[in-house]
Amino acid sequence: MFPLVRAVVLTEPITEQIWLVAGRALKTGRAENHRERFASLKSRLETRLQATKEKSAPAWRSEYLAASLVLLAAYFFSGKLGLKLAFVHANATAVWPPTGIALAGLLVLGYRVWPAIFLGAFLVNITTPSSVAASLGIAAGNTLEGLLGACLVNRFADGCKAFDQPRTVFRFAVLTGVVSTAVSATIGVTSLSLVGTASWASYGAIWLTWWLGDAAGALVFAPLFVLWSEKRALPWSRNRVFEATLFLVVLFLVGQSVFTGLISSSRNYPLSFLCIPLMAWAAFRFGQRETVMSTCALSGIALWGTLHGYGPFVRDTQHESLIFLQAFMGVLSVTGLALAAVVAEHRQAQEGLRKAHDELERRVIERTTELAKTNLALQANREQLAKAQQVAQVGSWEWDIAGNVVNWSDELYRLYGLNPKEVSLTYERFLECVHPDDRQSVRETVQRACRDHKPFTFDHRIVRPDGTERIHHGRGRVIVNDTGKAVRMIGTGQDVTEGKLAEASLCNVRDALEERVQERTAELAAANEAFMAEIVEHKGTAEALRDSQTKFQAIFENSMDAIGVSKNGIHVLVNPAYLRMFGYSQAADVVGRPVLECVASSQHDVIRERIQRRAVGDEAPTHYETRGLRSDGSEFDLEVDVSSYKLKGEIYTLVILRDVTARRRAEQLLRDSEALKGAILESALDSIIAMDHEGRVVEWNPAAERTFGYRRGEVIGREMSELIVPPALRERHRQGLARCLDTGEGSVLGRRVEMTAMRADGEEFPVELAISRIPRDGPPTFTGYVRDVTERKRAEELRNQMAAIVESSSDAIFSKALDGVIVSWNAGAERVFGYSAREIIGRPVTLLIPPDRLDEESSILERLTSGERIEHYETVRLRKDGSGIDVSLTISPIRDSAGRVIGASKIARDITERKRAEEEIRKLNTDLEQRVIERTAQLEAINKELESFTYSVSHDLRAPLRAMQGLATALEEDYRECLDDAGRDYARRIVAAAGRMEALIQDLLAYSRLSRTDLEFKPVALDSVVSDVRLQLEADLKERNALLSVRTPLPTVEGHRPTLVQIVGNLVSNGAKFVAPGVTPQVTLWAEDRGPLVRLWVEDNGIGIPSEYHERIFHIFDRLHGVETYPGTGIGLAIVQKGVERLGGTVGVESAEGHGSRFWVEFKKGTL
């Protein structure tokens, strides 16, 4: 069962082909029923086949087994066959179909069938005189070859579809013909050599054979089996069959002629090239399968021929022949396959193209039908539009402005009387149709539309070719493109001639009608006149009656007042005015109804009572006001006049009514206006005085009371001029009044006049007054509005003064608005800047500013707007002649009444002079300084001289002094015996004198040193000063037996140490010196803290100093005692004072004669 199934499965493609061929053949024949039968047969068989397949489907393994077995068998037998032609080595042959079979099997059935191949190869080789190992090796090699080849083809050459494209065909050829076969050859030959069955020397030859054989097998047989395994339906027509047969015949012939000696007796012509056109034929005319089959067939023939010594490939050895043959076959196969692949491709492409083309055609047809439908619809639309236009007598037009192409609808052509076909339209052509008189306006309208892009209408006459004139009403719209340019215009044109004509005729009719109306009115007037004449004719007797009747009637009917007659409170007769007053349309509405119906409910009782009284003949008010009630329910005020009369014994009441609502309202208005007037008068700020024609005061408002000081009651009726006109002007006033009354005109009437008025207290003051005359019946009155302008006058005066000041000022005073424009310009400005007021007012102030200072203006503006006032701002401005001028600006803001800054007022003072003066001063100063420096230098030089002078003086003075002293002493000591008392005395005096001089020189030196040196101020501790002094005066103090006590600690002072030592030393020695004889001198030092200052006291118990000398003692050389009494140079205290001065301190003394002295020196406290 399985082999059968397998066989069926394998042969299915062949079967199919047969079916197809048969089917085609039958199709083209006439045997329809045959075909049918055959078709049903085919289908039945197919289903059965299918069922069989399905039945065997679950047996996947069995299928696999079957396939493997078949493959194995094929491999084995073909292998054996091949090995029969193994001439080089028992196991290497040039004809080796198994490679192809193996490859095909792996490609079609899959890699899983490799065991079959392995087994097949093994069996093939084991049955040759070869070792198991070698066989195994070869088998492995062959299996590997197959696997590798299949793998490569699947990977790089589309697998089973390798023969559909030339590209993949070549790849297949290389991969299977070269690569995989090389593997097999290598492994196989190596195995054999290794085993020893083949010699290594002939490795190459064996390898080559093996390789070629495998390659040929792969290239020839593998495609055959692969292509046959697939279903390829080739369209078999009758012609094709014929061709195929012919091809086969030719194939046979060519094969025989090339490879056997069938045709020609000589056998070995190199006619192998004849195979090529054969291949080409197969490739171009049939499919790949057919090509490969023919290759196989040809191979077979060639092989047989070559084996038998025929054909161009015969060589000396079979082996060689076979080699060359195989090579040729392989190449031929590949070429043929490639060609076939190309053709197949091309066919496919054509097929694809044809399909696409069909598809396209189908779509085009679809689209065309659609389009046709749309077209039809459009056409229908168009026709509708044309019809509509025809009916409305409206045509449409379109004008492509750029291209000047005009499109008109048919209707428009018709309206213009033109043939649509014959006229090519442009805008100009259109204009030609327009009536010459209207052309210009049409053109203008169009142009305007082009500009404005607004829709437009235009009425114009046209002239048709036949000469008739029609009136057209056109409308148009402009179409703009993206840039806003008008590109198209569309619109309509309508023939409105009929309409216009109708209009015209209507006008005529109207005119005619009016004429007729006038005629008729004239006729009526004439008739009236005639009628009137008739009436006059018929006066006669009835005239009197009719007269009175008509009079009454007239009165009754035409009276503006409502007249009503009533009896017993019921209306009897009313006139039209009555009806009108109460809002009734006809007398019938009122007559017979109660009177009270016309009376407002609020008045019912009153009126009822009166009616009743009258009804009984009593008196009742005859004139009164009441409230009436209209027919619509509204009430109004009535004035009533009542009278009663008797007629035929009945009492009738006649009422005449007047609607006084209006009057009431007027009265109210009058009251209101009076009140208003009163209020105005009362509250007016100005005095309002009214005067009658005699000059007497008629009105006097509170403001007048305030201004003039008269109360109203005082002045009414009094003559005004007595009251308020200053005596000087009274006569003029009276005359003016008289003139005004006479002539009706006055010089002061109707305008503002300034005058002097007088208050109650006689004070005259300026006023502004406006007098108007109030016309009335009778003598006029005059009203005057008087304003006290004292303040204003004062302000004006002030302003004038200011203006005068401004004008007369020598400084430039001008003002500018916020925008920088000059508003005012005084004479000073004209002088300073050179511009006249006329020239510069209105110009910007920047004219005056030099270019490099323009930013000043904006900063000034800023400060101004913030309300700042700028004073004495020195800068540079420009004159008219362009020269610069130094100015000092004072700028203040100008504010409006709301306080906002609206401008600036500037005062510019020419400061050129001042600047020059300043410059001079500066120069003088520099000079002065220079001179001061020189003088100082001079002084310093002098000082220096003085110093050296002093120095040398003291120095050189001293030397003789020393000599004097020393020698005198020597004399005294050494020559005592030789000297008598006088002599000794003299010597002593010399010594003493020399001593004094020494002291004087010392002190002088000290004094002068104090004046010269620059003292460096440092904090000095007084304690150390005192100890220095003690040391210095040690001898002196000891000699005098003086006691110096110091109250320590003493503070620190700011000063110069040596000077301080001098000061304190002098004071202390003085204190010790000036004591009464026999008194032990006691000098005490203590310090007093006086805030930032320190006072050092030097107190002694000396003789004291009378107060009148307290100042003198500090003078240089001023002494209070002779030198005999108390020795001294007279410089000591001067030194103290000078020293204290230099140290910035103060010195003083407290003393009284006989009570000791307290000297003090005060210095700034120092900080150590």
Binding site: Y951, P960, L961, R962, A963, T969, A970, G995, E998
Partner: protein
């Protein structure tokens, strides 16, 4: 052997006389030598001319130098002394009437060993002389100077 030679360089004869007297009165054993002005002093110290005899005119242990002298002033002499290799170490005490700080400072700058101001009173002068002797000639360690001395010392 202590050297008690003192060279007094002063132009004022009175001052010189008084000095002499002072030394006498204090009974100090010093031999005094005098130079009237700067030039003489230089001649003396350098052993020129008549001063070549060092027995008669020995180099002094102490030089009392006045400032104000005609021609060569004391400061110049001092400068000269300090420039002489053999005399550099001489003890030079300024004895002058000037107490100006400029003079004092300059003298010290130039290398004076001390600066004394001539006192006014004679007694004070005696005190000064006594002190000088005591301090400079007794207490003070004298330096070696003069080529002869140097030679002799070795």
């Amino acid at each position: 052997m202590s050297n008690r030679d003192i060279l007094i360089i002063d132009d004022d004869p009175n001052d010189t006389l008084l000095l002499q007297r002072a030394f006498q009165r204090t009974r100090l054993v010093c031999s005094l030598h005098f130079a009237k002005d700067g030039e003489e002093a230089v001649a003396y110290l350098s052993g020129q001319g008549g001063y070549a005899d060092r027995n008669q005119y020995p180099l002094p242990a102490l030089v009392l130098l006045d400032l104000k002298m005609p021609r060569k002033s004391g400061l110049e002499v001092l400068e000269w002394i300090r420039q002489q290799p053999s005399l550099r170490r001489l003890i030079v005490v300024m004895l002058t009437s000037s107490n100006q700080s400029s003079d004092v400072n300059r003298a010290y700058e130039l290398g004076a060993n001390s600066y004394l101001v001539k006192p006014g009173g004679f007694d004070t002068l005696m005190e000064l002389v006594k002190s000088l002797d005591r301090y400079w000639l007794v207490l003070n360690e004298a330096p070696e100077f003069g080529s002869e001395r140097a030679l002799r010392a070795n």
